[in-house]
């Protein structure tokens, strides 16, 4: 059954000769041939093939990280690194695990979305909605497409920025992504343009992009404003256990960019992501990052504040349940005077889960008058769960100011008593306390997300109490 691609724009079409590439097979494991075939199928320019192959060499040479989540169960030889669109048959509704179906039910996900999210159907009835939104963007000159298309349609623009923020050598998983990346979003907002709507990656997702090695590149030109939103609170079911994405963002002078992610990965997934932004003069970059689920997540959104007046913010939550390890945090690199940064991190570990906050604030010698503020709090819900908080600061300038505070506690007994004595059940009281704990995060989410977040927390807490 051929899979239609209703979400993609008219310009994007598989231009290759089906005859040639149909013989290409992608089984498990990664070889040089795999990378060459991926590039061939996508009909990429030579520089991208060279980029991929160079990255592959680096991937082979680099060691696994000596810190962070336990990745010993990750078997590179068993992973399929590319799925040809024509082969992506999807699964039948019967094959979807009952737990996933239950979650959809509880979260009130509409039926059409359920099938889509479960990879059963690539049809999505919002197609009409999508197209009209797309028109709005085109009128303003905003480019919002998938990265494969962008490489074809805007090659010079992509080439100028691709890989400049996260080089392949950065870490083993950035190297892997650089070699086999497929899908992801490309956004360009022209000078002084404000995006009329949040750029929802939801509409960009097709069964190919739900894949493991997304590469996202966002450029906010001078004075522009954009808000990119990805993810959803429904569990992302994936038979592949490795999700290794790279997101590069350039925020030019006076521009502002916010990137919101809320993802709830199924418990078999290793979610290892490199997210990095660079902010220029008086530019602002904000990461709003919600991490729920997955077997192990390693993600440290960072902002390089490289010119005077640049501002960075990371607001993140991490919820680790049974058998899960959320190893997350943030990095703020102050390389110019009068730059400011804020990090707010809220973590919850329950049912034997583990959360680790790992952060860095760096003041280079040039960061005169820079200011950084870090607040990381953790709730350990029960006596099965654990938490580590490992922030670090590196101060290389005498007039920079750094303030950091962190607490680790259980749910306050006084607060519980106060609420239960007013008629709430213990479960309701606990949920309320948890909602209050993550409120700085949920208040920043777009409305529909916030509603779903609340429902998700309610759902997650049910497992935790009693």
């Amino acid at each position: 059954m051929a899979i239609e691609q209703p979400l993609v724009s008219d310009e994007y079409a598989y231009g290759f000769n089906d005859g040639d590439v149909s013989v290409l097979k992608f089984g498990q494991g990664l070889t040089r041939q795999t990378v060459e075939d991926i590039s061939r199928i996508k009909q990429e320019p030579k520089w991208m093939l060279d980029f991929r192959l160079h990255a592959l060499d680096i991937f082979w040479k680099k060691d696994m990280p000596g810190w962070g989540a336990d990745l010993s169960a990750l078997d590179f030889a068993k992973i399929i690194y590319y799925v040809k669109p024509s082969e992506n048959q999807g699964r039948t509704w019967d094959e979807v695990p009952q737990t996933i179906k239950d979650t959809f039910e509880r979260l009130g996900i509409p039926e059409a979305e359920r099938k889509f999210l479960a990879g059963v159907s690539a049809q999505y009835e919002s197609e009409v909605v999508y197209h009209s939104i797309h028109q709005d963007l085109i009128e303003k000159g905003i480019i919002f497409t998938d990265t494969d298309s962008a490489l074809r349609e805007y090659p010079d623009l992509v080439r100028e920025y691709f890989g400049t923020i996260v080089p392949a050598e950065d870490n083993k998983f950035a190297a892997l992504n650089s070699a086999v990346w497929s899908g992801g979003s490309f956004v360009y907002i022209p000078k002084n343009v404000t995006s009329p709507i949040p750029l929802q990656a939801y509409f960009r997702i097709n069964s190919q992009n739900m894949g493991q090695f997304e590469r996202t590149l966002i450029i906010a030109d001078e004075g522009s404003f954009g808000h990119y939103v990805e993810g959803c609170t429904a569990p992302i079911y994936s038979s592949e256990s490795l999700h290794s994405a790279v997101v590069e963002i350039i925020v030019k002078a006076g521009a502002r960019m916010r990137y919101t992610t809320v993802q709830n990965w199924a418990p078999n997934v290793f979610n290892l992501v490199t997210k990095r932004a660079v902010a220029y003069r008086d530019a602002t970059m904000e990461w709003v990052d919600g991490n729920i689920g997955s077997k192990a997540t390693m993600k440290y959104p960072s902002v390089y504040l490289v010119e005077e007046g640049a501002r960075g913010m990371v607001l993140s939550i991490a919820v680790a349940g049974k058998g899960q390890h959320q190893d997350t945090g943030a990095k703020m690199i102050h390389a110019a005077p009068h730059t400011t940064s804020t990090i707010v991190s809220k973590s919850i570990s329950q049912l034997g889960g583990k959360t680790t906050y790992r952060g860095l604030v760096h003041f280079a010698k040039d960061a005169a008058g820079a200011k950084a503020n870090v607040r990381c709090d953790t709730l350990i819900m029960d006596d099965l769960s654990t938490s580590d908080t490992v922030p670090s600061s590196e101060v290389g300038n005498a007039s920079a100011l750094m303030e950091h505070e962190a607490t680790v506690t259980k749910v306050s007994e006084e607060q519980l008593f106060y609420l239960t004595s007013r008629g709430l059940s213990e479960e309701e009281a606990t949920r309320l306390i948890v909602m209050g704990f993550i409120e700085p995060f949920t208040r920043e989410l777009p409305m529909e997300f916030a509603v779903e977040m609340n429902r998700l927390i309610k759902f997650e807490m049910e497992g935790a109490i009693g």
Binding site: P167, D170, D366
Partner: protein, 102 residues
């Protein structure tokens, strides 16, 4: 008080192949492009890594640890994640001798 120290001979250093030299307990990285010689601190400004183990392309050295890049002529950081410069030492070549000022 700085002075000129002979630290290596020119025929030890190949064009495009960085060389690690230790002077007074400190590591320096030597680079050659054609007949020109340059010297930088070997320690990358971004992390504890050795620049002399990286790949040199023309006047650009890539740190093998995270891919940061520096201009070997000035020590300036030219590619993320490197942002702070690396110390550069003035170099003089006299015949076969390479001297640096420290």
């Amino acid at each position: 008080m700085s002075k000129w120290l002979r630290i290596a001979s020119k025929n030890q250093l190949q064009s495009g192949q960085p060389l690690l030299i230790t002077v007074d307990g400190e590591d320096l990285a030597l680079f050659r492009v054609g007949e020109e010689v340059f010297a930088l601190d070997d320690l990358c400004s971004h992390a504890e890594a050795s620049l002399s183990e990286g790949e040199q392309k023309g006047f650009c050295i890539t740190c093998p640890q995270h891919g940061g890049q520096f201009d070997i002529r000035t020590g300036k950081a030219i590619h993320f994640p490197a942002i702070s410069p690396v110390k550069r030492y003035p170099v003089r070549v006299e015949g076969d001798d390479i001297l640096i000022e420290r």
